[in-house]
């Protein structure tokens, strides 16, 4: 099957350091992909290889089945937005947007018009004559977006486009980018290291770690069925409880999210006796840190404020934690000897 | 204009004083308007080292008015071409190379003289020295300036004169004592006179002409020619050996010993290689030739290296002011 964009076994090393190792994945037309991973895992490098700005040691990049690994950036059809925006400070917003439009191909009037159209797309038509220094961070980001779109690229690459912005502007721009992408219908790859951003924006996420792809899938897939302890831990908070549920079990084999830990005042079947270590108020919920009374294991539980108020608990109190059986994640299949209904309370 | 193509250009290296060159050249330009003369003027040492540095690819066509002892060094490296300029016979034997086609021809001689600042001497209550011997007097401690023989022609001829007059041993002995009174050795031969003129150092061992012209400009300078006789050297001309020798170069050398040229030289120098009817310029001894010592250029050229080595080892830098 011919994919819109396919990356095949890309490997990239810097001196003796391997930044990317056998990376393969593919993207459908019109998809919004988030490339997520901890700092230094190779996200930017991958994006630059897609754009042709960096050359891989091995592997290929296919576009509609055509190998374009050997093409220089100018002959691929990618629009890029960098974290730093890279707007030309001595050109106005409109001039920045029109920068890539070939004077041989478009008349001056056409270039101006195209620039304005693209600025209108990002709601900045009335800022056309401002210089970047006269724009806010969010506005600069949008000009960069308009500039990338002005070339009518087939793909849009975004490298942490929001990370330099304030929390509020960031959330607002998230929606703007999503809206724009759907409106233009452009296939987009966005790099981020913010899991919330990735979860909320992506059609599909690619989680990377240590130069490799850890998991690719929809946000729901990845949150609910992480394929590895790394992914589970990196996307949201997680309790690793393997060693608590299986004798001599590996701690990281079994995991459960804090919102799937419930707390009872009295012991019951398959509850763990714990002492409340600390309480962290978070507005709509409390994060409770529990320590197993018999051992030194810590367990996080999230209790929403309403439930908490009905049944308040205090630091030092002994409570009984229950792991919601159907939400427990098993990384290596459900082990035979034990079910969550009979936790080992050693 | 039309005859621009016919214009010939020659490069002339010279150690003549800047203020002389312009006047001298006037008559040449009048006679040969089609020859462009490209003058490279520097101190004797610099001109010599330039010549030697360019041995592989000489730039100069002609050397004009540069110390004969230095030209002999270049000659020993085979850099000079023999040429007998027109009227060579008028030049007396001691003033030219002895070869059939002389490798160098002198134009004038210049000699050592002391420039003494009379105002400063009077201020300090000192006597005006009249002889080399006088210079050793302790009253002149640190007040005498002399050119460094390694870089200055005047310096070398003075040292070479000591050697030839006193004999080597004696000369070194003399210079050891003289060194006690020296305030500074200078790079060029005229600087001692200039320093005397500014009162920076009251006594400068220089060449006669320098002090005399400064006195004319109003500086309180008296020029003394030492009783023992003066060391001297020739300002000499030579043709540089190179692949293409320009006719204009020879024309220049012919002119350089012509009567017109000699007349101009005699304005500044008491002794020209072709005698003129001009009176001896004011300030010089009545009978300048008698002031000159016996001078063996070949001896000087041959021993130049060893003398300078020795001299540099003994005096250069050693007299640094105490810290």
């Amino acid at each position: 099957m011919m994919k819109h964009l396919a990356v095949e076994q890309i490997t990239k090393t810097f001196q003796d350091f391997t930044a990317l190792k056998d990376i393969s994945f593919s993207i459908e037309k019109g998809e919004f992909i988030c490339l997520l991973g901890p700092s230094g895992c190779g996200k930017t490098t991958l994006l630059r290889i897609l754009a042709g700005l960096e050359r891989p040691n091995k592997g290929s990049v296919l576009m509609n089945g055509r190998d374009m690994t050997h093409l220089p950036p100018a002959e691929r059809n990618f629009g890029i937005v960098f974290q730093s925006y890279a707007l030309f400070p001595n050109l106005t917003a409109a001039q920045n947007v029109a920068y890539g439009l070939n004077p041989k191909q478009f008349s001056k009037r056409e270039r101006k018009e195209k620039a304005l159209n693209n600025l209108t797309l990002v709601n900045l038509e009335n800022m056309a004559d401002r210089y970047p220094a006269q724009l806010s961070g969010g506005q600069q980001q949008r000009v960069a977006l308009a500039r990338a779109l002005a070339m009518n690229p087939e793909f849009l690459l975004l490298d942490e486009p929001l990370s330099a912005l304030d929390a509020q502007v960031r959330i607002q721009l998230r929606n703007e980018i999503k809206r724009l992408q759907k409106q233009v219908g452009i296939t987009t790859v966005m790099v981020t290291h913010d899991q919330e951003e990735a979860l909320s924006m992506a059609d599909r996420m690619i989680v990377m770690n240590n130069a490799k792809v850890e998991q690719a899938g929809t946000p729901q897939d990845i949150y609910d069925r992480p394929s590895s302890p790394f992914v589970a831990d990196f996307i949201g908070t997680i309790n690793f409880v393997g060693d608590q549920l299986i004798p001599n079990g590996a701690k990281e084999d079994i995991a459960v999210r804090p919102e799937h830990v419930t707390v009872h005042p009295l012991p019951a079947d398959s509850t763990l006796p714990t002492r409340v270590e600390s309480l962290e108020y978070r507005g709509s919920s409390y994060r409770v840190v529990l320590k197993q009374t018999t051992r030194d294991h810590v367990l996080y539980a999230d209790i929403d404020t309403d439930t908490f108020k009905k049944q308040p608990i205090t630091v030092g109190e002994v409570v009984y934690a229950e792991l919601q059986e159907d939400k427990v994640i098993f990384f290596h299949g459900r082990p035979e000897p034990i079910t969550t209904k009979q936790p080992v309370l050693t | 204009d039309g005859n621009a193509e016919q214009k010939e250009e020659i490069t002339v290296y010279t150690a003549l004083e800047d203020d002389m060159i312009e006047t001298y050249l006037t008559s040449f330009h009048d006679q040969y308007p089609d020859i462009d003369v490209n003058i490279v003027r520097d101190s004797t040492g610099v001109i010599t080292s330039k010549l030697l540095a360019e041995k592989d690819a000489p730039v100069a066509d002609v050397v004009w008015g540069t110390a004969a002892t230095s030209l002999l060094v270049a000659d020993q490296q085979g850099m000079l071409e023999g040429y007998a300029p027109e009227g060579i016979d008028r030049v007396a034997a001691p003033y030219k190379d002895s070869k059939e086609e002389p490798h160098w021809v002198g134009i004038n001689a210049w000699m050592t003289g002391f420039a003494v600042n009379t105002v400063e001497m009077e201020d300090m209550g000192l006597d005006i020295p009249q002889s080399y011997e006088d210079l050793l007097d302790p009253q002149y401690k640190d007040l005498i300036v002399m050119p460094n023989p390694a870089s200055s022609g005047t310096g070398f001829l003075t040292v070479s004169a000591f050697m030839q007059q006193m004999g080597e041993e004696e000369a070194w002995d003399y210079m050891d004592k003289l060194h006690e009174n020296i305030g500074m050795y200078t790079h060029s031969g005229s600087k001692p006179a200039k320093l005397a003129g500014q009162g920076e150092y009251p006594i400068g061992i220089s060449f006669g002409y320098r002090g005399i012209t400064q006195a004319e400009k109003g500086e309180p300078i008296k020029t003394i020619f030492p009783e023992e006789g003066s060391g001297w050297d020739l300002e000499a001309n030579a043709l540089v050996k190179k692949e293409e020798i320009k006719p204009a170069a020879k024309t220049f050398l012919d002119w350089a010993i012509s009567d017109e040229a000699m007349k101009e030289y005699s304005e500044n120098f008491a002794i020209t290689s072709v005698p003129t009817d001009k009176p001896v310029p004011e300030g010089f001894p009545e009978n300048p030739e008698e002031q000159l010592i016996e001078n063996d250029f070949n001896w000087a050229a041959e021993n130049r290296g060893t003398i300078l080595d020795q001299w540099t080892k003994k005096y250069d830098g050693k007299s640094a002011p105490e810290e």
């Binding site: 220089p72 950036p73 925006y85 001595n90 | 540095a53 500074m184 790079h187 500014q198 830098g317």
Partner: protein, 588 residues
């Protein structure tokens, strides 16, 4: 640096990209730059090294010249002299500059701009000028030595005294003045970037003034101090102008080179001394590279320094700066006076005759005009070449090894004293055949025609001042977003369009600074060009040395004054242009 060089040899195979026109042009330019730098730096230096290992007859003799050098007492003494001059200069100059820079950056003293300009004034003069001025002021018959020509004695009964200015003291004084602005600039920059929070942290923990000085201020300018020490040491170690004029019999290495080559035609020994002259600069170069690498690890989230109120401190520093200012101004006054007075010190009537130069340098004002032309050409061509070179090294993504080697060659000249560049150039450009390095082959020298032309002077100046200009260009380029080129490339915009439309406009202040720097230094420099000038292209600075050699000190002063006035003018124009650029361009 070293790791960059290593990486040249350990490259992994990389998928090849087809090359478009842009890539081809960039590769050609990169190779041209490498060839140019190699020819202008490496080949001459190799020639110099070869000469140092030959006797006067051109036979290979290994290190014999060095042995001769160190075993001949008078020559060896020059090395000791040079070391003492450089060490004392370094200590005096850095201390004076530190206090001055501290006053400008860390006090609320009035007139900071004025004092800053005064401190920079010595940059505009050739080093010979300080020597000449000192002779007029402190020479045997100088203004101060004679107590204003006996006036002091008349008025106050103050006896004339002997300063013994010719020699060590004179050289050190000149070198201190010469290196003062350089040290000042470095320390000023270091002191301007203090972290206010460190001072506040120290305050809240009760640290006093001295504790803060030693635990916060000095450590934070450590690198600036080290580099100020190195700069003043190497500059005074290699300077030729001041010892030439005021050194008297106090021989130093730089004048030795000159004497060996010019006086004794001993080129091998000249080359030998030249190499010895290069040692401290090479050490400084290596240390500096190391320090810079280590320094890059520290990130600073500094907040700007706020000067605490302290009137006494301000008064003390004002007094100090005023004294230094008077000292500097007196030198310039002395030069001005000397240039206009008829017969110093016997006839003080004013005259313009020293500005004629007719009877002294032979060519009237020609050397001055020559200097203007050479400096202007150096400024324009040098800036273009260096800026484009820096651009290619910094922003191209092609031919990494060429960029690495070129980078090294671009910062290497900072370790080459002018005299050494001059010597290496005569050796290289004046030979009729070049023997190829590491082989025994010889080819006819295609560059010999350059010898004696103006081009070789311009080339020597460009190489001599390459590194500092290169660093200016690189710093400015580094400040520009690294992704401009990437963005342009993905937008199919050719690199030269981005270069002219974005890079150059954004760098225009740096470009002007490079031009000004190259011009001013070409006007004042002597060390490289003293071996390279021809009669047609005698320069003003050479005329000063020649006139001074001939004892024509007043015209030498006049020529110095012309150079200074020109340079100040150029600086004023530069400031005006930079101000107008900053005002006009919103984006910059």
């Amino acid at each position: 640096m070293i790791s960059a060089l290593q990486s040249i040899f350990t490259r992994q195979p990389v998928v090849r990209q087809s090359l478009n026109k842009d890539a081809h042009i960039q590769r050609i330019l990169l190779l041209l730059m490498l060839i140019g730098l190699g020819t202008a730096i490496i080949l001459p230096v190799i020639e110099l090294l070869k000469r140092a290992m030959q006797n006067t007859q051109g036979e290979y003799i290994g290190f014999e010249n060095f042995i001769t050098y160190f075993s001949s007492p008078s020559l060896f003494q020059s090395a000791i002299h040079t070391l003492s001059v450089a060490s004392v200069t370094m200590i005096l100059s850095v201390s004076a500059a530190f206090l001055f820079a501290y006053a400008v950056e860390r006090t609320e003293m009035k007139g900071k701009t004025f004092f800053t300009y005064i401190a920079l004034l010595p940059l505009f003069a050739p080093t010979m000028m300080y020597g000449i001025a000192l002779v007029y002021l402190l020479g045997n018959n100088g203004v101060f030595t004679t107590g204003f020509f006996g006036l002091f004695e008349q008025w106050f009964g103050w006896q004339a005294s002997d300063f013994d200015i010719y020699g060590f003291k004179g050289i050190v004084l000149s070198e201190v003045i010469f290196t003062f602005p350089q040290a000042f600039l470095i320390l000023k920059v270091s002191l301007s970037t203090a972290d206010q929070r460190l001072y506040e942290a120290a305050d809240t923990m009760g640290a006093g003034t001295w504790k803060k000085l030693f635990t916060v201020t000095l450590p934070s300018i450590k690198y600036g101090l080290v580099s100020a020490f190195f700069v003043s040491f190497t500059l005074s170690f290699t300077d030729f102008g001041a010892p030439k004029v005021i050194g008297g019999q106090y021989n130093v290495l730089a004048t030795d080179v000159y004497k060996q080559v010019i006086g004794q035609q001993n080129f091998s020994m000249g080359a030998t001394v030249g190499i010895i002259l290069t040692i401290p600069a090479v050490i400084a170069f290596i240390v500096d590279q190391r320090i810079q690498r280590r320094q890059s690890g520290i990130s600073s989230k500094a907040t700007p320094y706020q000067t605490p109120v302290n009137a006494l401190r301000d008064r003390l520093f004002t007094t100090y700066c005023t004294i230094i200012t008077i000292g500097i101004l007196i030198l310039f006054l002395a030069i001005t006076a000397a240039a206009f007075v008829k017969v110093w010190p016997y006839d003080f009537s004013l005259t313009l005759r020293h500005f004629g130069f007719g009877s002294v340098a032979g060519d009237g004002l020609q050397p001055f005009y020559n200097s203007l032309i050479v400096s202007a050409v150096t400024a324009v061509i040098g800036t273009a070449v260096i800026f484009i070179g820096a651009y290619l090294i910094e922003k191209s993504r092609h031919l990494k090894w060429v960029r690495n080697v070129s980078y090294f060659l671009s910062i290497l000249p900072i370790a080459l004293p002018g005299l050494v560049i001059g010597l290496a150039f005569i050796f290289f450009f004046n030979q009729s055949a070049i023997s190829l390095p590491f082989t025994s082959m010889e080819v006819a020298n295609p560059l010999q025609w350059l010898y004696g032309t103006m081009i070789i002077l311009v080339l020597a100046n460009i190489i001599h001042f390459y590194s500092v200009s290169f660093i200016t260009a690189t710093t400015s380029l580094k400040k520009q977003d690294a992704e401009y080129e990437a963005i342009s490339e993905t937008m199919k915009v050719p690199f030269y369009k981005t270069f002219t439309r974005v890079t150059v406009p954004l760098s225009s202040p740096a470009i002007l600074e490079m031009m000004m720097y190259l011009f001013v230094n070409s006007m004042t420099t002597i060390s490289a060009v003293v071996f390279l000038y021809s009669s047609e292209w005698k320069l003003a600075s050479i005329a000063i040395v020649n006139m001074n050699d001939a004892g024509d000190i007043a015209p030498a002063a006049a020529m110095s004054l012309l150079i200074i006035v020109t340079n100040i003018l150029v600086r004023v124009i530069y400031e005006a242009l930079v101000t107008s650029i900053k005002k006009r361009k919103v984006g910059i």
